[in-house]
């Protein structure tokens, strides 16, 4: 997909081409089936859902569940649906995307080109850390943040996201920079480039595609995060997913499945929009890195 000359089309012959479409359409059907169930359920009244005809189209279409999910559903004393936490989520997502990417890129750059003594060991521990469930680290993290005076605050939750995203962000950028030829870096050194100058003027511009990839992963992860936001953000900064879980989850309370489905789809619209908008870059981004690899 290079600009300019049209790429040679790698077409399979007739029957094989049909096979390709058959495979993709079957796969698409498989992938869409749960979404179909969710959409259909979200516009059925509860009486219809109780009858249990999961795949049947609604007899009486209602959009009330969507209104309830967005703005009316009671989750405790407040009855504001999931919209309450929307701006809180935005306020958490923006810094929790920018900072981890910045540090991920810096770490990756240092690990790939400068390799200070001991950095490989640090990286190995970081990779191992990616296997610890965040909940296990929660208790000590609460203590540490409380000690720093950051518990229950916006900077606190951003720092927590920075900590938990560091393994993946560092891995992404390290592998990306590792695939860039060392000669390029050496040439820049010979030209008298210092640590920061090479990073800012050479590496960062070259990483735009990877930055977009990382941004997409980070936006999805932070936007959908529930447990960290719940514990570390503090009452005034609770993200939207807390309300989403309040709408959906209950043990002994009654469940309004139509509202649940509507609320889930509504919440996922932000990451979905990010995919739609940046879908092209997402794919090309990694491509640009892999070209050199």
């Amino acid at each position: 997909m290079k600009p300019g000359a049209p790429p040679p089309r790698r077409r399979l012959p007739g029957p094989a081409r049909l096979g390709v479409y058959a495979f993709l359409l079957c796969a698409a059907a498989f992938f869409l089936l749960p979404l179909y169930v969710m959409l259909v359920t979200s516009v059925k009244p509860m009486e219809e859902i109780r009858l249990g005809n999961l795949f049947a189209l609604p007899v009486a279409v209602t959009i009330e569940p969507w209104a309830a999910a967005w703005s009316d559903a009671c989750t405790g004393v407040a009855c504001e649906g999931i919209r309450g936490g929307f701006w809180n989520s935005v306020a958490i997502v923006v810094p929790s995307t920018i900072l981890p990417i910045l540090f991920g890129a810096l770490n990756g750059y240092t690990l790939a080109f400068w390799r200070p003594r001991g950095s490989a060991t640090l990286f190995a521990i970081l990779m191992l850390g990616a296997f610890i469930p965040v909940q296990v680290m929660m208790f000590p993290m609460v203590r540490i943040l409380a000690g720093m005076g950051l518990f229950s605050s916006l900077p606190g939750i951003v720092l927590v996201h920075l900590v938990f995203s560091m393994p993946v962000m560092t891995l992404l950028f390290r592998n990306y920079y590792a695939s860039i030829p060392q000669e390029l870096f050496k040439a820049a050194r010979v030209d008298g480039g210092g640590f920061l100058r090479i990073f800012v003027q050479l590496m960062l511009p070259m990483s735009t595609p990877m930055i977009i990839v990382a941004a997409i992963m980070q936006v999805t992860g932070v936007w959908n995060d529930y447990i960290l936001g719940l514990v570390f953000a503090g009452r005034d900064n609770l993200p939207m997913t807390v309300q989403l879980n309040n709408v959906i989850n209950t043990t002994t309370g009654e469940r309004l499945y139509n509202v649940n489905m509507a609320a889930t789809i509504l919440t996922s619209l932000v990451p979905l929009a990010v995919y739609f908008v940046s879908g092209r870059w997402f794919v090309r981004g990694i491509a640009a890195g892999a070209v050199k690899g």
């Binding site: 009486e47 004393v77 409380a146 879980n245 009654e254």
Partner: protein, 410 residues
């Protein structure tokens, strides 16, 4: 970045701050009453608290485990709520022992909690002579519900009064092509059935010997073996789609007349009510079998994390008084499907099943605490794992008895 939400929160905070003297004590309350009916219930407490001059700040967090872990984390992080919901159980005992809770002794003395509340509840809220929790309601998790339509269709004339009659009715339902027992095959629901069978077939004595005394002889006894076998026999009456099902989907099977019985807590009334079904008309509720079946006591309480802030302490005491006041307790329980903790209330506005429960509770000999009152959360969980494994898998009953004895010995 200042979004509208933050701005409003800041404004509310500012208002609460400057209105502190005029508006009275401010209570931030963590609870997990997030579904529709539960929301309506907690609103009753918040209204009563406001009416008493306080400012209610609501922090609703779905799922008990989640909400309790946030409470504990916030206590550890030095930012505790004014009050937090726990179950009527040992869940908050560690908090008490660590000295992390304030007592509400003066409210308890003033209101006479000692004589007002059932012994079972007192056993939980009173630790070493101090009152650490304000009880809100009593749930019985072991009601037996039935669909009048389904029983009629199967030709079951009267509601069963013994375990044998229940099995006879289940057989008739099966013969009529209906699902005899609507059951959600999740661990906690399997355990509700187990508890119901232990209380009804084993009786209060065996129940206490097993769960309270953790007596290996009782667990190894013939009587307990019979309890386990009866429990396992019930499993043969569920449909193949049972595993993993939510409890309300099982209740929906009663509502649509597809199934006959369900063993579930009194919160199931909320699901019937949502579908426009009325007790006695569309469905029936059986509190237990035999002449004087025990009433299993479960419920919710508020605890009050330690603070020295005089305003917060005032708020804690006010909330303890408001939450236990007769009117609040009735209003709350009407919405929640539970019954009040205290017996000196006007229950005339409550539904038939709740009135049945309140009548039973008048007889002290029938009070029976749920297992969590006696067992640590850890022991209770280990027991639950064995019970759910037994319900779902074929294994010798002797092994189950042995496993339970080992799990409770810890």
């Amino acid at each position: 970045m200042i979004g509208p939400g933050k701005f409003c929160a800041a404004l509310a905070l500012a208002l609460a701050g400057c209105a502190a003297h005029a508006a009275g004590p401010r209570a931030e309350v963590i609870h997990w009453w997030t579904s529709g009916g539960e929301s309506a219930a907690v609103k009753k407490i918040s209204e009563a608290y406001r009416a008493a001059g306080g400012v209610w700040v609501d922090t609703a967090i779905a799922l008990g485990e989640q909400a309790r872990s946030v409470t504990i984390n916030r206590i550890v992080g030095g930012n505790p709520p004014t009050a937090a919901q726990f179950n009527t159980s040992k869940q908050f005992l560690d908090l008490v022992e660590q000295g992390l809770l304030n007592d509400v002794d003066d409210v308890a003395k003033r209101e006479g909690w000692e004589t007002l509340f059932p012994e079972t509840v007192l056993r939980v809220i009173k630790v070493k002579g101090h009152f650490y929790a304000a009880p809100v309601n009593i749930h019985n998790m072991a009601w037996i519900w039935y669909s009048k339509a389904a029983l009629k269709k199967a030709g079951v004339a009267a509601e069963p009064r013994t375990m044998d009659e229940l099995f006879a009715a289940l057989d008739r339902l099966k013969a009529a092509g209906l699902v005899p027992l609507a059951h959600g095959g999740q661990s906690w629901q399997d355990n509700i059935v187990f508890t119901a069978v232990l209380a009804n077939v084993g009786g209060a004595d065996l129940y206490l010997k097993v769960l309270r005394d953790r007596d290996p002889a009782a667990i190894g006894s013939e009587a307990f073996r019979k309890v386990l076998l009866t429990f396992k026999r019930l499993q043969t009456y569920v449909d193949p789609g049972s595993p993993g099902r939510n409890w309300n989907d099982a209740t929906a099977m009663l509502i649509t007349g597809k199934a006959g019985f369900q063993i579930m807590g009194d919160w199931a009334k909320g699901e019937f009510a949502l579908a426009g079904k009325a007790p006695d008309r569309d469905y029936g509720c059986i509190a237990g079998f035999g002449a004087a079946p025990p009433y299993l006591i479960q419920g919710d309480v508020f605890v009050f994390p330690k603070t020295k802030d005089a305003q917060a302490v005032k708020a804690q005491k006010l909330l303890a008084a408001v939450a236990t006041a007769p009117a609040t307790q009735v209003e709350f329980s009407i919405k929640k499907g539970s019954i009040p903790v205290r017996s000196d209330v006007d229950a005339s506005r409550m539904d038939v099943c709740a009135q049945k429960g309140i009548a039973i509770m008048k007889d002290k000999s029938r009070h029976l605490a749920n297992g969590e009152v006696f067992l640590t959360p850890d022991q209770n969980g280990a027991l639950a794992d064995i019970v759910t494994a037994y319900w779902n898998r074929n294994m010798p009953v002797e092994k189950v008895q042995k496993d339970i004895a080992a799990a409770l010995a810890n």
